[in-house]
């Protein structure tokens, strides 16, 4: 989807607020809640509830103002709650109720009804994790050194092809010939569509025209479905 998450090339965000490297004021987590959000997500990631791509897509579905304002771990919190709600594992009303009870400093909280949800998951409901299927062999369509064009596509769902590379011509710098999951379809449970991932090299001029900096190249990894041969064009 064309959303605020696809930030490459945007203007208006100012300088990078760069803290000195390895200084004590730049801890791994800046607050307790960030550490809980991140690490709870890591644990949930092992439970077969969601896949990596739908988690990323859930973040993309935030409204743009929240996306900017809530920060990295705020987005993860949103995705966690939203996915658990959609999958009927923990609904929003239960969370709201628990918050009210916590703030009221109640001695005993309302207990969740364990039968009233899709948990635990049956074995066949569990989703596969991983981005690459090492046991599968694929045959790449394109080869190293070949010029390709990034497809000019604007899917409303999840995609990993960035806006700033679409319709641009680049050169395949490396063929990553492993069987990679196509995030665009897996995010929506439309199959893993295992395929090669290509490292594409672009000159900055191609991407940014007269505003390009000198002597700069950009490399990006794109799925086979994201690119097309120049000869296939109309």
């Amino acid at each position: 989807m064309n959303g605020i998450h696809d930030m490459g090339g945007l203007h208006g965000f100012g300088r990078v607020h760069h803290l000195p490297d390895q200084a004590s004021e730049d801890p791994v987590f800046h607050s307790e809640w960030e550490s809980r959000v991140f690490c709870i997500t890591q644990v949930i990631d092992t439970k077969g509830i969601w896949n990596l791509d739908e988690h990323r897509h859930e973040i993309e579905l935030m409204n743009s103002a929240d996306y900017i304002n809530d920060g990295y771990y705020g987005r993860w919190l949103f995705a966690m709650e939203s996915l658990l709600n959609k999958k009927n594992i923990l609904n929003q009303e239960e969370v709201s109720q628990r918050i009210i009870e916590m703030l009221a400093d109640l001695r005993n909280y309302s207990q969740p009804d364990l039968n009233d949800r899709d948990w635990p998951l049956a074995a066949e409901q569990k989703v596969n994790w991983g981005a690459c299927r090492h046991e599968v062999n694929i045959v790449p369509i394109y080869s190293e050194g070949q010029s390709i064009r990034v497809r000019n596509i604007h899917p409303p769902g999840h995609t990993r092809v960035t806006a700033y590379t679409r319709d641009k011509i680049g050169i395949i710098e490396r063929v990553n010939a492993q069987a990679w999951v196509l995030p665009d379809t897996r995010a929506h449970y439309k199959g893993e569509n295992l395929q090669a991932v290509y490292t594409i090299k672009f000159s900055a001029k191609t991407l940014w025209g007269p505003q390009a900096e000198t002597n700069q190249f950009l490399f990006i990894d794109l799925s086979e479905d994201h690119i097309e041969s120049l000869t296939n064009l109309d």
Binding site: M7, G9, L19, D21, V28, R36, G71, Y164
Partner: protein
């Protein structure tokens, strides 16, 4: 006062912090306690992961890899050929990284890494990314004006230096192999580890003695 962030009736939510506690802290506390009661997670498993990221992995892990590459040409060759396999020799690896590509800086070439879509980062090698790496400013600007961004961050590159920006939006992760400073010639591997910074392995700084 409402801290119900995801009110179903209105997209434009309101929330406020409770005393000194941010609203996110209250929400995640509620979510964690419920998930624990339902049996989706066990809070001690969560604690173990916090410990892992705070104590076990971080830029020091990457510094070990780089110091080894600087002092062992055969290891360096293997690292450049297959980053993850070479790291595994040092007992380094873990979730979220399927492949690792190591890109080498030279006198005429400078590499720098970003993820414009969501801040992908080689967690098992460098730990979790710093806040600036995840910022909108870095994600939006680095691909378009890397020289300017790097200069603002304190790294000046000559016009003759080729700048390579790696937008790691797929599942291949990138680690920059910085140039070894000539003044470090007599240093041991462990002394080298102390001068190798996270910023240098992302590509926004040089290593200096």
């Amino acid at each position: 006062m409402s801290i119900d962030k995801h009110n179903h009736d209105e997209k434009h939510h309101h929330h406020s912090d409770i005393g000194d506690k941010p609203w996110q802290a209250i929400r995640i506390e509620a979510v964690e306690s419920l998930l624990h009661e339902i049996g989706v997670i066990n809070s001690s498993d969560v604690d173990a992961i916090v410990h892992h990221y705070e104590e076990k992995v971080g830029p020091k892990t990457g510094a070990r890899v780089v110091a080894k590459a600087w002092t062992d040409p055969d290891f360096k060759a293997r690292l450049l050929a297959d980053g993850l396999e070479a790291c595994a020799e040092l007992g380094i690896g873990g979730p979220e990284t399927e492949r690792l590509r190591v890109v080498e800086n030279t006198d005429t070439l400078h590499n720098v890494v970003v993820c414009t879509l969501c801040s992908c980062y080689p967690w098992p090698i460098l730990g979790l990314p710093p806040a600036w790496y995840k910022s909108s400013a870095y994600r939006s600007r680095l691909v378009r004006e890397p020289r300017k961004v790097l200069e603002e961050m304190g790294l000046q590159l000559t016009q003759e230096t080729e700048v390579r920006v790696w937008d790691s939006v797929s599942e291949i992760r990138y680690l920059v192999l910085p140039q070894r400073p000539s003044a470090s010639a007599g240093m041991s591997e462990s002394e080298l580890m102390d001068i190798i910074t996270r910023d240098a392995m992302i590509g926004v700084a040089r290593v200096s003695v």
